[in-house]
């Protein structure tokens, strides 16, 4: 983020702050208006999932084209539904990265143009910070906190010592959880997006095909999912070669149990090691029933307060971007008009500089 010294930012304690946020990092075009970083006045999401189903995955060029088609319509509708006048907005926030660079650009250009047209500050925002701060749309975050971020593109354990300060404890060394789910789903013959199908099949299955757990080195918070994914593909191929019917349910359950066991164990260990007051689950894979139930049970057993945002704030949405941008806004940390899409943006680098 390019920081701009901006006289437009004057946080007056007690005065409501309205941030309009834009998110176009992947295949959802979303615009939201969030009050004080926690109250969602409006959160519109134009999903392209039906379009990308035909391709069996997100096609970046198709996604970018669709963002251009609906971006100003969503801006207009969001402002109309919020009941605010454009002048009453305090800032324009936008996902700066990570994400698909062409897709990010559409949101960024729209946000820059809007900030310029309305003379409002711009806040380039980290997508994962957005996923984490989706939790604040539900309740206050207690620090230190640990966040488990699981989505189509991300698998991370993040430690937050205080508000807006991020330290990535561990991350995937190859596939993200959502990505692995999609690949396994394809191997098992489920349609895109496959994650929910694998989850369903796993939960419905009586038995689990044994699959390895990948813990990596002692003490590591990293993940590796490609070996597990390959093991699944081998099982499927072996069954096919022998002319046997593929045990979809058993494989799905074996895969899910392996993934969930490692995710949950590492997240819980991080909570204990850092004395976190809360565990925050976030990202699109938070919808996964197996993960939710196992994590909920472990947290209950160990008396760890667990926050999981409702699904509409777990999948990609702009409300979460507005929530994260707020923590920058109250510190006067805003961007200039030179920001661009940052496909590999660092979460730690996006940490706030000051206390408000």
């Amino acid at each position: 983020m390019n920081n701009a010294s901006n006289e437009q930012v004057q946080h007056v304690p007690g005065k409501d702050v309205h941030i309009l946020a834009v998110e176009t990092s992947c295949d959802e075009t979303s615009v939201a208006i969030v009050k004080n970083g926690r109250e969602v006045l409006v959160n519109l999401v134009a999903s392209q999932i039906e379009t990308h189903k035909a391709f069996g995955g997100v096609v970046p060029e198709v996604a970018s084209r669709q963002h251009v088609e609906c971006i100003t319509l969503l801006l207009e509708q969001a402002i109309a539904e919020s009941g605010l006048q454009p002048d009453e907005l305090d800032a324009i926030a936008v996902t700066e990265g990570p994400g698909l660079v062409g897709a990010l650009l559409v949101g960024i250009m729209a946000a820059k143009a809007l900030a310029f047209a309305l003379d409002k500050p711009l806040i380039g925002t980290h997508h994962i910070a957005g996923h984490i701060y989706a939790n604040r749309l539900i309740e206050d975050v207690q620090y230190p906190a640990i966040a488990l971020v699981v989505s189509g593109g991300h698998t991370e354990i993040v430690r937050m010592e205080s508000e807006g300060r991020f330290e990535v404890m561990g991350q995937t060394r190859d596939d993200a959880v959502g990505e692995a789910y999609d690949k396994v789903a394809r191997a098992l013959g489920f349609p895109y997006p496959g994650g929910p199908h694998v989850d369903k099949a796993a939960q419905a299955s009586e038995s689990a095909v044994p699959l390895p757990r990948v813990w990596l080195e002692e003490g590591s918070y990293d993940f590796s999912l490609s070996g597990l994914k390959s093991a699944v593909l081998n099982l499927v191929n072996q069954s096919r070669m022998k002319g046997e019917e593929v045990d979809k349910g058993g494989i799905a359950r074996g895969f899910q149990e392996s993934v969930v066991e490692v995710l949950v164990a590492k997240a819980i260990r991080a909570v204990h090691e850092f004395g976190a007051k809360q565990l925050l689950l976030c990202g699109g894979v938070a919808a996964n029933g197996g993960l939710r139930s196992t994590l909920t049970a472990r947290c209950e057993a160990e008396n760890i307060p667990l926050l999981i945002p409702p699904m509409k704030y777990c999948t990609d949405n702009a409300a979460m971007i507005g929530a994260a941008a707020y923590i920058k806004w109250i510190r006067g940390e805003v961007s200039d008009l030179y920001i661009k899409g940052e496909p590999g943006m660092s979460l730690e680098g996006w940490s706030v500089e000051a206390t408000p």
């Binding site: 970018s64 100003t72 200039d336």
Partner: protein, 271 residues
């Protein structure tokens, strides 16, 4: 176009469909400030700061603008989206009319303007689209005697008439088509010059073959390496604005001229 239809007022013109980041402010046909920056290829970074600068330096308030003219391509997909998204958002937020200008038409005019050609001229803009392809079109200009002065030319329609729509074509096929078209005309209707503009170096060998197939001399087939200049986005835009040929901000879209590769594959092999 009638004289009384002359547009009044300032407009912002922009195009990022090719290597140049083109931004200008025009008052009528007068170019108050213009930059066609080739230095940095990162249009997404610099476009808004550059818009801010040209407005400030031409002493133009955002609210004074009477419209926005934007190059909608064809060209680099990402590049075109940068200007189009910016223009549609500005137009919507500032409640300004926006006009879509063919980046190829403006490029053809940019290249033609610098040439002192007289007679009947075919102008063929080229923007490289890789694998032997180019985004291209065909225009015809008639310059009887003295070439008109730029500001008159710009608003009297520049006597540039479109003969073919913007398209992506194999340059070799397109050159052959143009030659056929040339030969099908009565000798009195044939152009005196054929001028290729834009990203000509990459396609020079291919397009120069038209001299042989049409019997024109190499003196009559010209290449003019040029970019799409913001002044021509603005001038063509002013003309369309005066004619009421505006686009609703929400429906302003790039002219990609083709579906995405993924969609094309899907059409060929439905799953």
């Amino acid at each position: 176009m009638e004289k009384h239809n002359r547009p009044q007022g300032r407009i912002l013109a922009l195009d990022t469909s090719s290597a140049a980041q083109a931004v200008a402010v025009l008052d009528g046909a007068d170019v108050l400030i213009e930059s066609n920056n080739l230095a940095e290829r990162n249009h997404s970074v610099n476009l808004l700061p550059e818009i801010e600068r040209v407005l400030r330096e031409s002493d133009t308030k955002k609210r004074e603008l009477k419209g926005i003219a934007v190059g909608v391509g064809p060209g680099s997909y990402t590049g075109v989206r940068i200007a189009v998204t910016t223009a549609k958002t500005l137009a919507w937020a500032l409640k300004l009319p926006v006009v879509a200008v063919s980046s190829l038409e403006a490029q053809a005019a940019s290249g033609f303007e610098t040439m002192a050609l007289q007679g009947r001229i075919w102008i063929i803009p080229l923007v490289d689209a890789r694998r032997g392809q180019a985004y291209t079109a065909l225009f015809e200009a008639n310059v009887p005697g003295e070439k008109e002065s730029v500001s008159d030319a710009s608003l009297s329609g520049f006597s540039m008439r479109r003969l073919a729509e913007d398209a992506i074509l194999l340059t070799s096929d397109w050159t052959a088509t143009l030659a056929e078209r040339f030969k099908a005309l009565a000798p009195s209707e044939r152009p005196d010059y054929i001028l290729f503009t834009g990203e000509t170096p990459k396609h020079a060998d291919t397009v120069l073959a038209i001299a042989e197939s049409t019997g024109l001399s190499l003196e009559q087939v010209r290449l003019q390496d040029c970019v799409t200049e913001a002044r021509w986005i603005g001038r063509i835009g002013q003309r369309k604005l005066a004619a009421g040929d505006t686009t609703e901000a929400h429906s302003l879209l790039p002219n990609y001229t083709q579906v995405t590769e993924a969609e094309a594959n899907l059409l060929r092999n439905p799953q």
